[in-house]
Amino acid sequence: MTTSRRKFIKISALGLGGVAATTTALNMFGASSYIDELVKENVAKTFKRTATYCEVCFWKCAAWTYTDEEGAVKKIIGNENDPHCYGRLCPRGTGGVGMYNDEDRLKTPLIRTTVNGEQTFREASWDEALDLIAAKFKGIKEEFGAESLALIKHGAPGKHLEHLYQAFGSDTIAEPAYAQCRGPRETGFNLTFGSWIGSPEPTDIRDTKCLVLIGSHIGENMHNSQVQEMSDAIDNGATIITVDPRFSTAASKSKYWLAIKPATDIALMLSWMNVLINENIYDKEYIEKYATGFNELKDHVSTFTPEWAYGITGIKPEEIRKTAREMADASPAVIIHPGRHVVWYGDDSQRARAMAILNALLGSWGRRGGFYFKESIKVPEFPAPEYPHPKWGWKEIGAKYPLAQMGITTEVIKCAIPSEDNKYPVKALMVAGTNITKSIPNKKLLEEAIEALDFMVVIDTMPMDVTGYADVVLPECTYLERYDEIRSATNREPSIAIRIPAVAPKYDSKPSWWIAKEIGERMGVGEYFNYTDYKEVIEWQLGQMGTSLEEMEKIGVKNFPRKSGSMYLNETGPHEFPTHSGKIELYSNELKNLGFDPLPNYTKHPEPQQGFYRLNYGRAPMHTFSRTANNPNLNDLKSENNLWVNPKVSRILGLKTGQEVWLKNQDDIISTFSIKVRVTERVRWDSVYMVHGFGHQEKKLSRAYGKGINDTELISSVAIDPIMGGTGMRGNFVTILTENPHKNTEI
């Protein structure tokens, strides 16, 4: 193989074009007419509903898929008994239909090949593709050890492949959901309360009196039950305090919007602590009974007055005091929301610590209207031999970051680059259910690593950008077409939900449990896949849990009573928190022993130079990152992102709403595509903002290709959290180009 072997292929697989064109032509005629309207009533009676849980995002809401007599997926409606959605899906869940109907889906296995010196993909049979993968994997396993086979994954397909990897002896597994997303908050809260936040977050929003959102924007993220509960909180007259440099949707629902200067949140929180302690309005009883290190905290924050914070954050001292008092008044029914995507500036675990400490001072952890004690039910493991013990894995790779509790994608990827001190050589990579070119920053590093790999497999439902780097692409069927593992999540009460195929897999796509099993059998670990259909696994598990597939087909979701006691602190007796000291650790000895600040400190972060603006990115409620951009229903709602620019900036640069511009970042990286400007007061003059997940480079994504800018490609400066390895991505600055920088080059 040549050195430029893994040149990005914009999937132009041989022989695929015609099929797509035909489908589009057929679609033009549309299946509906008013005659359908007339017979709809009759049709409605014959709709069949099948239980599933959504896979358009990680919230995994349980739902019913409605299919008509011809087996067409008509609609998807939330399951009333599901604590994730209470019967109401979000736009992405409702639009899940489009994921199934998308005519741009991957249709058949593809293998990289060279025709006349040009790299391309050719269609292949499943047997050929799977044989090739197994042979390559076996070869690498024999030469370097199974540990050299890495997996980067997300969501339901990831689980099956994780099982495969562990079966053949590799623990070199990571997912962007940790180091590119919520990792720091898990570390920060774990250090303080001894427990992860987890997903869904155990925030008791529906009963809260005061919800504090720091850079978290419920309503733009559609974390379903939280959005619903925030609405309930609004109805109940709860106070919402939003800290955000941008006027987010949540900010517009807030009594207080603190328009903070970016990257100064810790200073604000320290001053809040100062006010709570100085004015003696923190929950003294709670702190005395359950916490340690209060005196150290008190000393630590004594100089962090609101006046001190004003100079840093730009928030007036009286606003800081007023909001602190507002929180104290609501205490303990107050939530300093831990957020979700929290990898911002590299001191993110410390910021999460500050949030945790504030929650402790307000006595909200384990209190009604604060954080409840979540509970889930354990799904028994399907009988399989014990996994072998790899010599190294994600833990060893990420050892530099002492409190990393999951694989760090960037560290795993770096291991693919050969060097003398690389003790953990990664030779092959499988990517499943995540588009790493849009979820992992520092594209240069990513491409260098991918280039160095011996072999790369991508499993996806769509021809995402990442598929262009693969040697083999496997088409996975969508969640509506497959069984998957039982969903058991942490909630107020334990519950399980099941996913049953509503329709047969379209095209030549296959479920990932099947892919995992087929590869496993070819690699000689068939004993880990002792079933012919994943349905058998679910049936067995449900039987063990005292229910059955038959029952679950009818109800979709089963709720179980709590076993761990009250959802809130039982304050009559002592309570042991799962920390080292058994108490809430305001002062962290663990951090001190590791050489980190035992109490959070504010540090100054880089600021934009003249002519540059901080690149801020976020969510749109109708899209899940880059995964849904091509979904026909959701693309209808939002087909591209816009560049939010403050009118002050637009006046200086002469920009108009709708004008196309390009961006160049501090490292001279220029955006591949252009983006349309939106001049708006909702963004600060020192930042620009765009929704993440657009600017697809893959032409086969007929609706998403070339629409908007991929923010991730402009994130080349990464501030790594020394505590847990999170990749801080909010320290990138861009300048706005009004002339097409690609005029003379072809993209």
């Binding site: 679609n27 033009m28 549309g30 299946a31 509906s32 007419s33 008013y34 005659i35 359908d36 309207e37 709809k40 009533e41 409605a44 008509k74 609609k75 998807i76 409606i77 939330g78 109401r88 899906l89 979000c90 736009p91 409702t94 639009g95 239909v97 489009g98 309503g219 733009e220 559609m222 959005v227 619903q228 925030m230 609405s231 309930d232 609004i234 109805d235 006027f247 949707t249 949540a250 900010a251 517009s252 629902k253 919007w257 328009a259 409620p621 109708m622 026909p632 229903n633 959701l634 209808d636 709602l637 939002k638 403050n646 009118p647 708006t680 007061e681 909702r682 963004v683 600060r684 003059w685």
Partner: protein
Amino acid sequence: MRYAMVIDTLKCVGCSDCVVACQTENDVPIGYCRDWITETVNGAYPNIELELKSERCNHCENAPCVRCCPTGASHQLVNGIVLVTGDECIGCGACIESCPYDARYQHPDGYVDKCTFCHHRLEKGQLPACVSVCPTKCMYFGDLDNPNSEVSELLKNRKHKTLAPEAGTKPNVYYLI
């Protein structure tokens, strides 16, 4: 019986679930829609107001579309719902021109289409699809002739507005502000 929809702008986050739910419930073709979301921003940083709302046919009491229709395809039911009968519609576009809310569009099959308040669901005792899915529960639906209905109560107790009242159409979609 006078059906009305009441939408709480203080809760709406503009997620557009109502738009997709309508699309899948009513087989609205891709590229078309019967409802939509608008965003209004007023003020200057950092004193800004933002209003998000879900809009659709207002099922006006004084419906200009019904008045303009040359064939009677656009008609109003006794419960106030304005409907279009596809096979009476000639696709002349008069109703589209007459609607101050631009709530109608030409279906690719030629006839004019719009929100029906999910008439077919109401008959089965279900709420309109948009109302039933809204994750913020900001949409309410009911009978304004019944003084005890949820919508009547909301309009009694909350400040509200309708869209383009100056057009004189007497809309039946209300916005709580």
